[in-house]
Symmetry: C2
């Protein structure tokens, strides 16, 4: 099972507007309204500390590289789930470039090596 | 044991100069020249996918939040190690704000929840 973390507090640099959910909450609602791919767990989180680049999502799983993506919006929900499904199919988290959604290719904020990996 | 990953390929947006190590390699060399705090393992890595924000370092350990920091330079080596030592002392990876080095407060790129954490 891989986790798709969605920051619920991302305001994408915008002032909060009464009665309007922030960008992060909009992304979460849009993703949750779609069919979640097998093996993917959607996890809402408070602040992924990338506030200037919100909406932010992160993919992680034991033994895999973790990835953080920024400038996500509700209309990217389907593409985010395509990317999460591709990540789920990659045992080390390294998805071949051509299988990554365009928003993941262009809007990567950072990645972190797996805990268990050895590095040269 | 916590890991301090240092991107060895960070060019910080600068064109490569023959015979001059890139920013990432400079950060790694400067950190390696200092005394590494107990419980911290320095791990060079190839590309943390935050190329526009290099030099980049990341802290991670099983069961802890992972953190990525950007715009690091060789002269920040001592402060990076102070931050790594504070992270090592924080069982969940959450270092109290006032104990974080200023460069970590101001130059966070992102954080990722621990694999094991439960979220509401």
């Amino acid at each position: 099972m891989v986790r798709l973390h969605i920051c619920m507090t991302c305001k994408a640099g915008l002032p909060p507007e009464e009665g309007v959910p922030c960008v992060g909450a909009q992304v979460f609602a849009a993703v949750s309204a779609l069919e979640i791919p097998a093996g993917v767990e959607v996890v809402p989180v408070e602040c992924l500390s990338a506030c200037n680049a919100g909406g932010v999502v992160a993919l992680s799983a034991p033994g895999r590289w973790s990835y953080v993506y920024g400038r996500m919006a509700a209309q990217n929900a389907a593409e985010i789930l395509v990317g999460a499904a591709a990540y789920e199919r990659a045992p080390d988290g390294l998805v071949p470039w051509r299988e990554r959604p365009v928003i993941f290719r262009k809007q990567s904020l950072a990645r972190i090596p797996p805990m268990e990996a050895k590095h040269d």
